[in-house]
């Protein structure tokens, strides 16, 4: 159920602009990896190349390889649609489909895969996904109400339920707590801890305490200046990044002496 990701010599371009340069990384299955770094350093961009979502932006392209258990997702004849069915994603702001009920939101991805679900299968899957996202107890009595009626934190967990309902191999999270209050953030962080039993989780965060709390390994990205490409500076165990980083740049950033 969970796959290893090998990123090899990954360069990311927007048109002619080189946004990210030479990323080299190995992400182990059933682990949480955090991407940290200043704004514009390319951490979200790298995250979005892991399910080919960056291609939504016109002119974006990559060179290099991203291997999921050895298969290059940028190989010839690989359909990005299939990649995204294996690599789920949660966004900065909760984005449940406003016209769908809570239940329909959870099942949206499964219905896309053209699987016919009997009613009992659908009910089971809804419950399993919502339980997996720690949301079941809060919404079990209103599954047929619109998802947009939930609180921000609940909506974000609904989005996580929607992502894990399709049983992906990898779960990407792009600053999933940046629009949430501390209580909801805590709920999501607890959830991330549970999720790593089943999935490879990669999370982008601006909050270094969060990275320290949830992740096993941390990648620090930085940018030399405006117009320069972002680079992976250091990738290591989270404990050593935050206590004893190898690079001075990393230490400056995590201790707040940025620049």
């Amino acid at each position: 159920m969970s796959k290893q990701i090998d990123i090899k010599d990954l360069d990311i371009f927007y048109g002619d602009f080189r946004a990210v340069d030479g990323v080299q990384m190995q992400i182990k299955p059933r682990s949480v990896t955090a991407f940290i770094g200043p704004s514009g350093c390319g951490k979200s961009t790298v995250l979005r190349t892991l399910n080919r979502m960056h291609e939504v932006i016109p002119g974006a392209s990559v060179s290099g390889e991203v291997l999921m258990d050895g298969n290059n997702i940028y190989g010839a004849g690989v359909d990005p649609v299939n990649v995204r069915r294996e690599v789920g994603m949660v966004f900065q702001r909760a984005n449940p489909f406003p016209t769908m009920s809570i239940k329909e939101n959870v099942l949206a991805g499964v219905r896309l895969n053209n699987r016919r679900l009997s009613k009992s299968e659908a009910d089971d899957l809804t419950e399993r996904a919502l339980r997996g996202a720690n949301l079941w107890n809060e919404v079990k009595d209103r599954l047929n109400l619109p998802g947009s009626g939930l609180s921000g934190g609940q909506q974000q967990r609904l989005c996580i339920a929607r992502a894990i309902a399709v049983e992906p191999e990898v779960l990407l999270m792009d600053e999933p707590c940046s629009a949430l209050d501390p209580i909801s953030t805590l709920a999501i962080e607890d959830l991330i801890n549970d999720l790593k039993d089943k999935y490879t989780v990669v999370i982008v965060t601006h909050n270094m305490q969060q990275a320290a709390r949830v992740s096993d390994k941390t990648a620090f990205f930085n940018i030399a200046g405006t117009g320069k490409p972002g680079k992976l500076i250091e990738f290591n165990e989270t404990s050593s990044i935050f206590s004893n980083p190898d690079k001075e740049e990393t230490e400056n950033y995590i201790s707040g002496r940025f620049g």
Partner: protein
């Protein structure tokens, strides 16, 4: 300096805001009420201007309605005293009934034909077309809207001649459906100037308005919604179905209703194309008439009671359009979604 808005905002923030509130006390009145907001002359002028504009639209609408009602007085009197005076000799309602039906049918056909194409074009230009082609297509569509209706009328007459063969074929194969039935001797219109031709031309006339409105709506689909669908592994079409169409639903309804409004009221093209006649169910033989075209064709020679009749017919069209718009409003209010 604290202004009145800050005073009101700091109210519910709780204990931590107390020192601030204390500082703001001097600026509020002794009785604790917030001080009056400062009124600037620019604001006054602007709000007065918008108020006038808002009232003007109501006055114009009321004026039109009153004019139509006042001018209809003779017809209403005739209808009440001696219905046989009215054109057709059987009273106003049997005179206006076929016109209403012709108007509604032609507008409905135009809408049914134009809407799928309009949605398709709008989706293509917003979500499918190569980035260089999309603006060109949008421009061409807007250009269609700029063609005067008299030109559409001329083109429709030319088109009519070429459609006779098609109508004959329709009547031979689908004549069992009443709307494609041939005349008693098995023939169809020799000129092709039938209600179906008029409806088809109408559909092309309302295509640009529906297309440009829906295009604007599809462009406003929240990017997050589109990405949510794509990240679940949706293909482009599935993304459109999950994110774009539900979000644009109320907009699509109002766009088609605006198109319907135009189709109901379109005069020149229909008056030029249609060779009017009595109401028939069949769309491929000569006959039928729409309200706008009836007025345009008869107005120049009308006087006295006939003039009043035509104005009353106009009143009927006014009411139909009003009802259509109210219906559209109701549908939009029911289907609109809160975007996130």
């Amino acid at each position: 300096m604290p202004t009145s808005t800050q005073t009101t905002e700091s109210g519910p923030t709780g204990p931590s805001s107390e020192p601030e509130a204390g500082q703001q006390m001097p600026s509020s009145k002794p009785d604790g009420r917030a001080p009056k907001a400062v009124v600037r002359p620019g604001d006054r002028i602007f709000s007065a201007a918008t108020l006038i504009a808002g009232i003007l639209i109501l006055v114009i609408l009321a004026g039109v309605a009153l004019f139509l009602l006042a001018q209809s007085k003779d017809t209403i009197e005739a209808q009440l005293t001696d219905p046989s005076q009215i054109t057709g000799g059987k009273g106003f309602f049997s005179y206006v009934w076929p016109l209403v039906i012709g108007t509604l049918i032609s507008a409905a056909i135009a809408l049914v034909v134009a809407t799928p194409f309009a949605l398709g074009i709008a989706l293509f230009t917003t979500h499918m077309a190569p980035r260089k082609l999309a603006p060109v297509l949008g421009y061409v569509i807007d250009l269609l809207a700029a063609i005067p209706s008299v030109v559409y009328g001329l083109w429709g007459i030319a088109l009519a001649g070429n459609l006779t063969g098609f109508y004959l074929w329709l009547s031979q194969w689908f004549g069992w459906i009443p709307i494609f039935a041939p005349a008693a001797d098995g023939s169809v219109s020799q000129t092709g100037r039938t209600l179906l031709t008029a409806s088809l031309v109408l559909s092309i006339m309302i295509l640009p308005i529906i297309t440009s409105l829906t295009r604007e709506i599809f462009l406003q689909t929240p990017r997050l919604q589109e990405e949510a669908a794509l990240a679940l592994g949706a293909t482009r079409w599935e993304m459109i179905r999950m994110a774009v169409l539900p979000f644009g639903k109320s907009g699509i309804v109002s766009a088609t209703m605006l198109g319907l409004g135009r189709a109901l009221g379109e005069t020149m093209a229909v008056a030029m194309i249609l060779s009017p006649g009595v109401l028939t169910a069949s769309l491929v033989v000569s006959g039928n008439q729409t309200i706008a075209s009836e007025i345009a064709q008869n107005f120049p020679e009308a006087a006295g009671l006939r003039l009043s009749e035509l104005i009353t017919v106009g009143l009927v069209l006014f009411v139909i359009t009003l009802l259509v718009n109210m219906g559209a409003r109701a549908i939009v209010a029911r289907t609109s979604v809160k975007g996130s």
